[in-house]
Symmetry: C2
Subunit: 600 residues, 2 copies
């Protein structure tokens, strides 16, 4: 199909121009023929007004058949130089649809498309005001009764939620809600964040005191305002808290702190939400057109019900309530769980002189932070990536360009390399009785995160404490019963305890819909997160994308936003564009709205 | 000397390598011969441990003769591609000295150096930790009694000034002190800012409410953390206040707000300052090695003494105390002065329904904001400059590369163009009696700013109000006497008045030395700012650089920092390196310490 002597750039250019022409002619057969038999088209909003991966020619054809008449794509143009490696020719491009501009990435094998990514970057006529189009800030000339920026801002803040209604309400003012609100602000969508804590950043500040981000700084930038270049690789929790608080201020986000959402009901007639919140002793009903739950993957604690828990004389709390080790020097501490928080909490308790026991119920994936940074994240998110010209935007798009269906195949060799490089480490850990895994298929940490949002520890020190017995370990068991001053394990072991920490994770985000809206809506929407991979805690059928995240759900005008800082940053772009399009009453026909296969 | 067929890059490369070789051989005659008869070498700290322009071969030779043995420059290397235009070949380069790394800019004419800029970028062995060398943020491993970031920070803040002493104290926590403190923080110089206001940014917030920056956003970035790309062209004062407050927080600066410096004395024996401050009802004596006055060009109000002022029944205050127009609708307001603040205050009063009269004592330079942005600042600080690859750093260095001695010659044609483009505007203004000038030599706004720090208005609307008489104007007069309800002008005119605003400018920064230290030290140091140009309010002799700014003064360990946001950003780099070098006890022989010709 293409001349083998063509440069990679020519190959991509030719492919794009033929593909664009076929689409403009409405010749689906020709267009679809340009894809390989194994092929993936991942679309972030541009074609589907959804977040959707089409897998194989047939599903690509079906999507095009439905969307093409309205989407009217055109102007496919290569951007920069394409590259060729191991038989894969890859390149960047831009394109337009009837209502939007976009950019994308393509990989060809033997002249045919293997992976295609299309992403919406802006809505025509509703572009963000930045660079040359930024606002002036002052109004030159003279105007009777001119109001200052502060006066306008103060009035708008006082009126929002009372005299005027936000178009969008975001429940949850953590990193997710904040980044999304910043994007909506730039798109001029009136938005209000509701947060129960006193200050932006408190959702970080209130965690156990030794917490530092487990992801490195290059992965963690918020939209628009990157961290300065001295920012630590792993942000301490209070420092990231301060950054978020600052961000809310300088991005001029409307943020109601100390405000609790009590109830949210969708008014079908008015096509708007009634969101009841408690603020400063007052009950206020907000009437936004859209409601975003940005309550966090780690927002809804799982606390197991264990017989006898009521009789416990010591302190017991979920890991999200655990402030740190300071009160427990010399005390007997039992931590139930063996994921990130459990390890961090155990290590901090040990560092402060507690007697610590970890109860590992099932196997955990452990990877040393250094190895993870170097081998898994380094190529896209690291100082050397920055030096190689891989900006945050490029890294995010490259990451997004890999379809979930085949992502594990790229990860398995990386984790094999890690297993070999750190073989001694893993051996020591297993000798201590630690139940280790690398995921059902050996694909490691990030796939576990996508599939189930749990099941791993990024080792920053605790594993050595476990390996040499300074943190005591009981594995393959759980707590069967709690007594006044002890826990009893399923194997009959009795462990005296002054403190029990339930590092037992969090429930699905649609639990928040159940709590704030209704069980009916939670069930209508179904489980959030997970790919339907058929691996542990991620039952099939295959979904191809994370369930319900950043895209339309079965409940009109209800959206779920969350994930780590990378995901919040990147996907907030697409969620904000979807909401802006609706505010401007653009046509937004959703292709392939997800089926509900699981309730939670 | 050079082959005319050489490319610009080759010409610069050859010049640099010959020059470097001559310096390494200590052959001053050969080195100096490479400069044109009219030539300038501007050195920012690298050679002179001073901010110094050497003018002509003789003074270049004298400087090299003194500095070369210790400075030991080497490794002169071109950076990027040189350019050639109108007979001037220009390029960038890097170089090293015994203790530092630097970068510079050079212009050749007919193969000889016309202008040379050398700037220090870092001290070897004391580089800022950034990018690949940034801190980890957490400590991997396990450590008994580990302290969290917050605990360490809280303890350090509690101890600084009490149990531990800052190496440097900065009086004044406005944009200047803040930017400098950020640089010192990155250089790990323990620094404490003393600020009398309650919050960082209050020095902006407390100004008249209509105030927006007169300089555009591209000119105003602080070090390390640029404004995001939607930031308004002209920041409203409260918005810049919020940014500064955020900056202090996220850059982790030690900032004592609500603290007044009462006295500062240099202890010659101990070679340190005793700085007495009042904080939270306590008197505290700090003992820093260095003291920086960052009290602002606009920190020390000039209030004229006018007979009868005591008897005035209305409100009278200096422009720095004027909050805004809200209380003066329908009132008779007299504003003495005709510079930026006077115009802004008059316009806001008129906009809010006051009866406004401006008293213009002497001629003022006026330039429309649009024209100034487009013709004067645009080439270096604008969106199109950004698009052309002129980063803030490049713009700052290019700006710095032009010696003050010849700068006016570059500005005169720009202002001639402005005068012609806005001829109608200027004619209308003069018809209304406004006394207009373009500086003694027609070199316009920025030269006035450098020479005297005053004498201009960047028109954002008020001039039209003056031109059409909505703001009444009395020019060429001043207030001779004040009565209970009126002012009497020198021409006998009596103006009824409810409000008098003294928009009469600010005194020299060494007035702060007089107030905080002693008149003796203020006189020892002499006048700050100004070039000695022999123009109005800038008496000679010629200094070649701004007096006393960002460089050693005649008072050991006393420094002056200030200027607009551009200058504060750029020169804080050189002041911070000078202080860091002293902290590390590097040899810092100062070449050409300024003579004192004027006391204020």
């Amino acid at each position: 199909m293409t001349n083998a002597s063509n440069t990679p750039t020519e190959q991509i250019s030719v492919w794009l121009s033929k593909f664009g022409a076929a689409l403009e002619r409405g010749n689906l057969a020709s267009a679809v023929e340009m894809f390989a038999e194994e092929s993936y088209w991942r679309d972030l909003v541009s074609f589907t007004w959804n977040i959707k991966t089409l897998e194989g020619q047939e599903s690509i054809q079906a999507m095009l058949h439905t969307t093409l008449p309205e989407i009217k794509p055109h102007s496919w143009r290569i951007k920069g130089q394409a590259t060729s490696e191991n038989g894969v020719t890859a390149g960047w491009f831009t394109f337009e649809t009837a209502t939007s501009k976009g950019q994308g990435h393509i990989r060809l094998r033997a002249g045919k498309c293997w992976t295609l990514l299309t992403t919406m970057t802006e809505l025509k006529g509703f572009e963000e005001k930045k660079g040359a189009t930024r606002i002036l800030g002052t109004q030159h000339g003279v105007f009777r009764d001119r109001q200052s920026w502060l006066e306008r801002k103060t009035r708008e803040e006082a009126e929002l939620g009372y005299k005027t209604q936000p178009y969008c309400v975001i429940i949850g003012g953590g990193q997710g809600g904040i980044g999304l609100a910043a994007r909506l602000k730039r798109l001029e969508v009136p938005t209000l964040i509701i947060e129960r804590n006193n200050r932006p950043g408190d959702s970080w500040r209130k965690r156990y005191k030794s917490l530092c981000l487990h992801d490195p700084v290059w992965y963690d930038h918020l939209p628009y305002l990157p961290f300065p270049d001295h920012w630590p690789v792993f942000s301490p929790k209070d420092k990231i808290g301060d950054w978020l608080e600052m961000y809310v201020k300088v991005m001029e986000l409307n943020y109601w702190h100390s405000t609790e959402c009590q109830d949210a009901q969708y008014d079908e007639m008015a096509q708007e939400w009634m969101v009841t919140v408690g603020r400063a002793g007052q009950t206020i009903v907000l009437r936004p057109k859209h409601l975003v739950l940005a309550t966090g993957m780690s927002g809804m604690p799982n606390v197991p019900e264990i017989p006898g828990a009521d009789s416990f004389k010591g302190v017991q709390h979920h890991s999200s309530q655990h402030a740190g080790p300071d009160d427990y020097a010399g005390k007997k501490c039992v931590v139930l769980g063996a994921n990130n928080s459990a390890h961090d909490i155990c290590a901090a308790l040990w560092e402060h002189g507690a007697d610590v026991t970890m109860i590992q119920r099932s196997s955990t994936h452990v990877v040393k932070s250094d190895s993870l940074m170097e081998l898994a994240l380094g190529p896209l998110y690291s100082e050397s990536a920055v030096q190689a010209g891989i900006t945050t935007e490029i890294a995010d798009l490259l990451f997004a360009s890999l379809p979930y269906k085949i992502m594990h195949a790229f990860h398995i060799p990386i984790y094999r390399q890690i297993a070999s490089r750190d073989a001694d480490f893993y051996e020591r850990l297993q000798k201590a009785g630690f139940l280790l895994d690398f995921g059902d298929d050996g694909s490691g940490l990030f796939m576990k995160y996508l599939r189930r949002g749990s099941g791993y520890y990024i080792d920053v020190g605790a594993s050595e404490l476990i390996a040499d017995g300074r943190i005591k370990l009981h594995s393959g068991v759980t707590i069967n019963q709690i007594r006044e001053n002890a826990v009893v394990l399923t194997d009959g072991t009795v462990l005296p305890a002054d403190l029990i920490v339930y590092a037992t994770g969090y429930g699905s985000m649609n639990g928040w819909a159940a709590r704030l809206i209704s069980q009916e809506v939670a069930d209508k929407v179904g489980k959030c997160w997970g790919l339907g991979s058929g691996t542990t805690k991620d039952p099939g059928p295959w979904e191809g994308e994370l369930r319900n995240m950043w895209k339309p759900t079965r409940q009109p005008a209800l959206w779920f936003h969350g994930g780590n800082l990378h995901q919040s940053r990147h996907y907030s772009q697409f969620l904000s564009l979807q909401i802006k399009a609706r505010m401007e009453e653009l046509s937004t026909p959703v292709y392939g709205l997800g089926e509900v296969h699981h309730l939670s």
